[in-house]
Structures are given as C-alpha cells and as structure tokens.
Symmetry: C2
Subunit: 382 residues, 2 copies
C-alpha cells in the first residue's frame, strides 16, 4: 500500500480555496499515492466531493490527517490541526512565516516538515510553483471588478445620443503581478489607466499594456531594481518626492488600486488621509495590501469604508479567494508541480532532497526544528 496524501477542508472562515483539484488528484493517484480529501474541501471552489472521487480520491474526514505522509493546504495549519498530523509528515501551504515565530515553533514541535510555498525562488524552473504570482494575478483582476462594482459611474467612455460618459481615471500603485493584471483588466474595461512603481524596469511593461507610467525618475529610482524582482524600500527623500507627485495625481483619479508589498515588512503607506481627502466624492480606492497593514490610511481589513468626503476605501480580505474557483485550480497546480519534484516515482513515495535549492528555499521546519536560515534564529529558545 502506497503513501497517503491528505487534503483537508480549510478551517479559516475567509478561506474558500482548496489545495487540490481533480486534475492534480488524478496525477497524484497516478503516481501510486492514496489520496484522501476531506468532505466538502472543494465546496468553496465549486469542486464537489464526487469530482474528487471520480479523479481517484477517497472522501474522508479531518481525522484522516493522522495517516497522511503529505498534507496539502492553503493556509498554515493551526495548532489544533497540527495535533492531528503524523510526526514526519510533509506539509505544503502558504505559511505566512514573517512575524509568526510561535506558529513556526509549534510546527517544528509537531515534527512536521513544513514548506512555505511563498518562499519559492523566482527562477525559471520554479515558475510553475509560484503561488504568489498565480494568486496575485487573480487578485489584480478581482481588484478592478471590486472597484467597478463600488464605483457609481461606468468605467468605459460611452458616447450616447444624450451625451458622453467620460472614461474613469484609474491609477495602479505597485506594478508587480497583481498591478499588471489590474492595469490589463482596467484597460479591458475602457478606463484611462496610469501606474507607478519604484522599479524603472516596469515602466516599459506598463506602457506595453497601454497605460502611462507616473514616477519621480531620479538616480535612486534608476538604481532601485533588485535582483529578486521585488521592490526594495526607498529612501525617505525619494518617498517624499514621489508622495508629492502622486498626491497631485491621486486628487484627479476616480479609482486607485494599491498593491505594494515588501516581503517580511509591513506594507508601505502610499496614500495618506490627506490624499484620500483630496479625492472627489464617489471615488474608489482598493487596498490589496490591507492584510499586511495596508497601503492606504483608513483602510479597514474586511470592510468597505466610506470617508467623510464620500470616498470608498475597499479592504476585502483574501482577494484571490473571491475568485476561489479559479484560484484553487492554479494553486493546486503550483503545489503539485513542487510536490512532484519530491516524489520518487520508482518507490512511489516522498523522497525529499534536502540539498535541492527549491527545498532549501522553502523548508521552514524539519526533524523537530525550525531549519530555515531566515527564521531559525527567532525560534531559538530564549
């Protein structure tokens, strides 16, 4: 009998996603694994139990985690969940490791080998495993849909017999994967789109999507692109100059979408209360960084706030989870692609190569300890 892979139903109330799809289940079964899916695990993503059984899985219950050699999850397991896992089990999830030392220590104590999918290096080989990209792409799309939903005008210019409705001026702050998809989606809907980022390289990408790039383009800006493709934190001076330019720009916008994140740090504040106050009534701001402290002054996680001057600030939680049926399919594929590299197909069993660069980059806990160099120190006994 083969090893067991377990896919639980996520326990977080805001989590509609699931860590497997019928497609990935079928492939894992094909490798010789017993795949057990907790009943209802796919319900929030429009995958019914029967879809999983057709793919070769068995439908089980939460307690089946105890037999699993591999657990595939969306979110980091809670302490309660960890109690039900077998020591030595591999757990793959979005682990949210920064600032959560106690949770990592609990994972180590449970004896599981935990992998943080969001630490996957951004190299060609790992592109298919990049959960940040696959989920941010959908978040960028949904941010524009959410903005259009809250906005009290049409986004496209409409020329009618009774006059012309002007196109919505839309400004995207932070042009990573989410920002690029937000630009593309707003452009699809006919908005006039501008965008900004601290990295000069994206200027060309922004232009290629039909949007205009807005930034203080000084020396620091030109040197700011980092190897990892992430934005580094800019100097106070640069931030002040950029803030002045964007403050002026924001006052003229109908819709602003912010997507700026710095790994392991709180999200940078991009929009002050004064900037919000400068906007016209009916304008909409979507803060995709709201779960990381927020880019926007006054954004409230999980709420749509209307300010005194009539500006709506949208702070939805788990935005990829708002298009869960799409997000789960891509996330499941990301997990599968990484897990596949750790499967010994002859032995039909998990075989983790601890020298592999993907394993080294993502492995948080192993053999009872926090092993990841970035997090091991914080977890040392004090």
């Amino acid at each position: 009998m083969g090893q067991t892979i377990f896919i639980p139903r996520e326990t977080d109330a805001n989590e509609q996603r699931v860590a497997a799809s019928p497609d990935t289940v079928k492939r894992l079964v094909g490798f010789g694994f017993d795949v057990v899916v907790e009943t209802g695990a796919g319900a929030g993503s429009r995958i019914i139990d029967e879809d999983f059984t057709k793919a070769g899985a068995r439908i089980g219950k939460a307690a089946d985690a105890a037999k699993a050699d591999v657990v595939l999850k969306v979110r980091r397991p809670s302490e309660a969940e960890l109690k039900g896992y077998k020591s030595g089990a591999a757990v793959l999830a979005i682990m949210d490791p920064y600032g959560n030392d106690a949770a990592l220590a609990a994972m180590a104590k449970a004896g599981v080998t935990g992998f943080a999918m969001e630490l996957m290096p951004r190299i060609t080989r790992a592109q298919v495993m990049d959960v940040l990209s696959s989920q941010a792409n959908l978040a960028g799309y949904q941010a524009v849909i959410d903005a259009a939903y809250e906005y009290d005008r049409a986004l496209p210019m409409m020329m009618t017999a009774a006059g012309t409705v002007p196109a919505a001026k839309t400004f995207i702050m932070g042009v990573g994967v989410a920002g690029l998809q937000a630009i593309a989606t707003a452009r699809r809907l006919g908005a006039v789109v501008t965008a900004t980022d601290v990295r000069p390289a994206v200027k060309e990408q922004v232009a290629s999507l039909g949007a205009k790039f807005i930034a203080v383009e000084d020396e620091e800006f030109k040197q700011a692109e980092t190897a990892g493709g992430y934005a580094k934190e800019m100097s106070k001076e640069y931030q002040a100059k950029q803030a002045a330019l964007t403050a002026d720009h924001i006052a003229k916008q109908d819709i602003v979408i912010t997507t700026a994140l710095i790994p392991g740090r709180p999200a940078p504040k991009l929009i002050s209360a004064a900037m919000v106050a400068s906007m016209r009534p009916g304008s909409v701001i979507v803060d995709l960084a709201v779960e990381r402290g927020g880019n926007v002054d006054g954004a409230v996680p999980g709420k749509v706030v209307t300010t005194a001057n009539g500006v709506k600030i949208v702070g939805h939680l788990n935005v990829p989870g708002r298009v869960a049926a799409s997000a789960s399919l891509l996330y499941a594929k990301n997990l599968f692609a990484f897990l596949e590299t750790m499967i010994d197909k002859e032995a039909k069993a998990l075989k983790i190569n601890r020298d592999d660069e993907l394993v080294k980059a993502t492995m948080l806990t192993d053999g009872g300890a926090v092993v990841h160099p970035q997090f091991a120190k914080a977890a040392e006994p004090t």
Copy 2:
C-alpha cells in the same frame, strides 16, 4: 420674474438619480427660468448643492414645489408629492404608467400636465430624449459588472505558468440597448459571448460585437421584427422551440444575463426552474427584468438568491441607479432636450404645443384628465 423649474430630491429609497445636472441647470437658467433644486437632490449622483448653485440654481426645500411651473423628476410623483404641486404645472418623469391607473388618476386630479418620458417615440428627432436607451445602456454595463462581482472565477481566459483559466461562457438573452451593451462589456472583459433575441435584425449587430447569435431561425422569427424596434410576443410554438434550444445552451453557460421586456406587459419568462437547476454550481444569472415580473424563475427583486444547486440569481433593483452618477447626467440631458422643445424662448416661458407628435406621444394627463389614448379609458369613471 421668470417661470420656475423645480428639481426635487427623489423620495424613493432605491432612487439615487436626479433629474438635473449642473449642465442642464445652467442652460435652463440661460433661457430665463428660475431654477430651484431641493437640497441634497444630487447627493446620490455625486452632485453637491454647490455644483447646482454655481450653475445658477437656488437651493430650496420640498415645499418650493408649490411655486413651480415645471417639475423635473426621475420617478412618478407620489400622491403626497402631488399635493404640493401647483395645478397646471408640467411634470416630466419616468411615469411607469402601465397598470397604474389609480396613480394616473391622482395625477389628473392634481391638475398637472404629466409627461411619461418612456413613451417618447423612437424617431431620429427624439433620440436625444430617449430615457429608455440612455438608462438601459448603463443597466447593460452594470449587469456584467454585477455578474463578474458575484462570479467565483475570472471572466477572461488567463494563460499562466500554472495553467490556463478558461474564459467565462456568457449568454445574453434579449438584445435591445441593454443587451447590446452587456455583450460589449462582457466581450471587453474577455468572456466568450453568445446572445439571443426574437428579432432577426439584431443577429448582425450581435455578430458585429464579436458574439454568436443563438436562435431558432424559422419563418416566424424572420417576420417578427416590429416597426418600433421592440420585440412582439412570439407564438407558443416558437417559444417552445426556442426554449428547447436555449435550455440546452443555458446548461453549458457560466453567466446568463436576461433583458427581455415587452412594454405594458409582464416580462416574458425565459428561464425556468429546470433550466436554473441544469446549470453548474457557481454559475450566475442576472435578471434585468426583475422589476417587471422577471425573466427568470426564482429571481427575487432586490436580492441575490443562491439556489439549492449553487446558482446565484441576481435581482438588483433600479440597475441604472447603481451607476447613478453616470445615469443622472444622461437622464438630465434627455429631460432637457424634451423640455427645450416646449419652451418659448422669446417669452421665456413654457408653451406646450399639444399637436406636436412628441407631446402627443408622452402626455398622460392634462387639464384635470388622463388624456393619453392608451390610458384614458382605464381612467374613466366606472
């Protein structure tokens, strides 16, 4: 001193629109009228009192209606409102006259000359006064935004490193102004769009927007186009054939938007409970006819209903009012264009030519009686 035009704040809780814009106010003031706008009348459409005063209006209160020679409204005045109007005043609004004989009688009794903007003939001269078109256009746009908001996947096809998200299959039933804009908006968002209508002429329009036409194209279909551009009610036989074809098609759709209305009649039922049950969980239906009885079995006015099989049926009220800031600007322009034809610019006063075809087509009540041929009989004392 000139005549007075009054623009009240709408009293219906679901009505965010207003019957004037700063632009139309400015023009009316330019004709020599005193324009009085009730305080807060534009608040739901993002027009503040100051915008109206800058355009030359005076801000007043509801009681100022008593002095008005012309009242511009969005919805038919209630009996309470009519009590505050001067006998002989002209009232322009969307009067919703069908099946509302008591309300028309009350309007007659109040002595006002009431014009139903939705009865405007669809001729070239009156295009700029066509409130059905201007508002349906925005409703068609918003229907797609509302569908995308409720839908748990992305609409466009997305090709990513982790696989392809398929485009949403979207079906538009009823291709008038709303349907055409729904097709255009769904296409903008990257959906795969099909559409149907009982009129053969729209087949070409559908194709020109990049969508595919779905219909039983028999003799009756070919003869079904009416002079007014509206759909006439089709035979029971045709409806059965068309229902069989669409039933098959609907079962494969992700999003369906229905827009079928027949003036003066309840909306035709296009989607049965069985058809809803045939759709996959997560599918979304938007019923734009929900206020007229609905095209969809199970649609509830003002609600988003989720069926037992996980289909969402969206029945928002007053969909143009969901993009009120755009809708009011166009509606105000429609009203202005019609009112302008009834203004004697020398005398700087209203001068209604009761022989004008636009006046004859829209005038419901005059001189204490219901005068419109379509409604006069119902209002006769019994």
